[in-house]
Subunit: 296 residues, 2 copies
């Protein structure tokens, strides 16, 4: 990560954290336990990659950060909701996340389910109430982000497919299909939303879509690599868990070395897509490289 | 229930069922198990009271039904999501709902959690993509309905407070506070949304709000009465469950007779509020009476 991206990431993190802090009810507002649980998971040292993508894609098309704040925050709320629900005993049954107790371990299952539900809907309220954007744009954002979160093409559908694939041998096409929904859809809509707020033209949005699709795939491949190659302490969650549960992963399918090569190829494809744009795209290229680097 | 309302309810039910059927992915679309679970709970003989309120409030202000369809469907999706999650083992732990297995009993817990999540977000996608309404109106609907579903003033917050109140003795103000969020908020936004689509003026919306608040309270009071006084077979869910779990209920607090009187009083207040409107409001009055009657 070069200095420019590192600075950009630090400033976008600081920015979105402030916005999130202002939007999530305080821990002393009733129901306090619910808001404490939401804050426990929301401010748990997440890397804020999705907000960073929103800000970077927006900046690429000339949008000021103040117009991107609520959309960046809304997408991070959806991401956090998905982590809380995925960690539940009935789902992936994880006790640790980012080095500390998961929401249902720290609080209880009912509170964790409701904290996820509350964050999910808070995302759409946040964007609908974004007075910095015109109604037409807000509606497009709500519709696109809802599709990326739901079914049949979004994150919730991907999690269902992932759970159903446990313990089965699946084809690579099916694996990509699962991951494009479970992880790719929200990463992808982050880039598209930023570009939309920057008033990107339709042909530009199509290019961003291609970039974003590769970025989403790259993210999942490197996430799988991290899970296999790192220790639990470094990762902050129970490492190797996906392999033990016979979950569908890229290294499980191809082996670690071939998966690393695949990641490098997908990263190049993301960068190549951006060459179609008549814009300064180094920030978006560097984000792809940063995601690749984290698995090395 | 007189003939007019009975016919209106039948026709609004038929209408919203068609809309829901066209919006929820078919059972053979992947992930099939997820869509089967959604359909299991969505088409389980629900009374569709919230859609009926949307249509009735809309008609009161002159809106054609085609402009109300998606909002009515979206609110019913949120209601169904809440039932699926409330029935989960970590929440109310119910095996029966409307006379048949709850979603997690018929399928499994993970699928039920995801079916609820999917319906929740589908509601907002449905309204955002409603091309019959202008963007300004759609955004107001998304924002209002999201607030009614979420926290700190909506349904999810109410469910959290309800769970926390189990086994404790609570004051009547607290009981009303829980129920106004858990049940009242979504009932209330149903009336307000219909009136908004009918382009009701701000002072008319304030009257609808008063009516809708009483309607929500009436709904919860009569729901509690039903739970105490009816047999499991008639009710289609495990009767008396709320009392056994020491849940906060009106009959548990006041006794059955005083609760009946309270219901009649709240119903009159709902009707009285409507007198402020210079509109034909008999449909809305009859809905309040229908809700009162069901507990007799």
């Amino acid at each position: 990560m070069n200095v420019t991206l590192s600075e950009f990431l630090a400033s976008s993190n600081e920015r979105v954290d402030k916005v999130l802090d202002s939007l999530v009810p305080a821990a002393n507002v009733e129901p306090r336990r619910l808001h404490q649980a939401i804050r426990w998971s929301m401010f748990a040292g997440g890397k804020r990659i999705r907000p960073c993508i929103v800000y970077a894609a927006g900046e690429t098309f000339g949008a000021d950060a103040e117009f991107l704040d609520r959309t960046a925050a809304g997408i991070e709320m959806i991401h956090t909701f998905s982590l809380i629900h995925d960690d539940l005993p009935a789902m992936d049954d994880d006790d640790l996340r980012r080095g500390r107790e998961t929401c249902h371990k720290k609080f209880d299952e009912a509170t964790a389910i409701l904290a996820g539900d509350a964050l999910h809907v808070m995302a759409f309220q946040t964007i609908a109430e974004d007075s910095s954007l015109c109604s037409d744009l807000r509606i497009r954002l709500v519709a696109d982000i809802a599709a990326a979160s739901g079914t049949p093409k979004g994150m919730v559908a991907g999690q269902q497919l992932d759970l159903e694939a446990e313990g089965r041998t699946i084809r690579i096409g099916e694996l990509e299909n699962i991951h494009s929904r479970k992880t790719g859809a929200l990463i992808s809509v982050s880039a598209r939303a930023g570009a939309m707020i920057g008033a990107a033209a339709d042909d530009e949005l199509a290019v961003v879509q291609t970039y974003a699709d590769r970025l989403g795939l790259l993210f999942q491949i490197t996430d799988d690599l991290l899970d296999v190659t790192q220790e639990t302490a470094t990762l902050g969650k129970t490492a190797g868990k996906d392999v033990h549960a016979s979950k569908a992963t890229f290294p499980g399918h191809f082996g670690v070395e071939a998966t690393r090569e695949m990641a490098a190829k997908v990263c190049r494809e993301a960068g190549d897509a951006l060459k179609e744009l008549d814009r300064e795209t180094s920030l978006l290229e560097e984000i792809a490289e940063m995601i690749l680097e984290r698995s090395r």
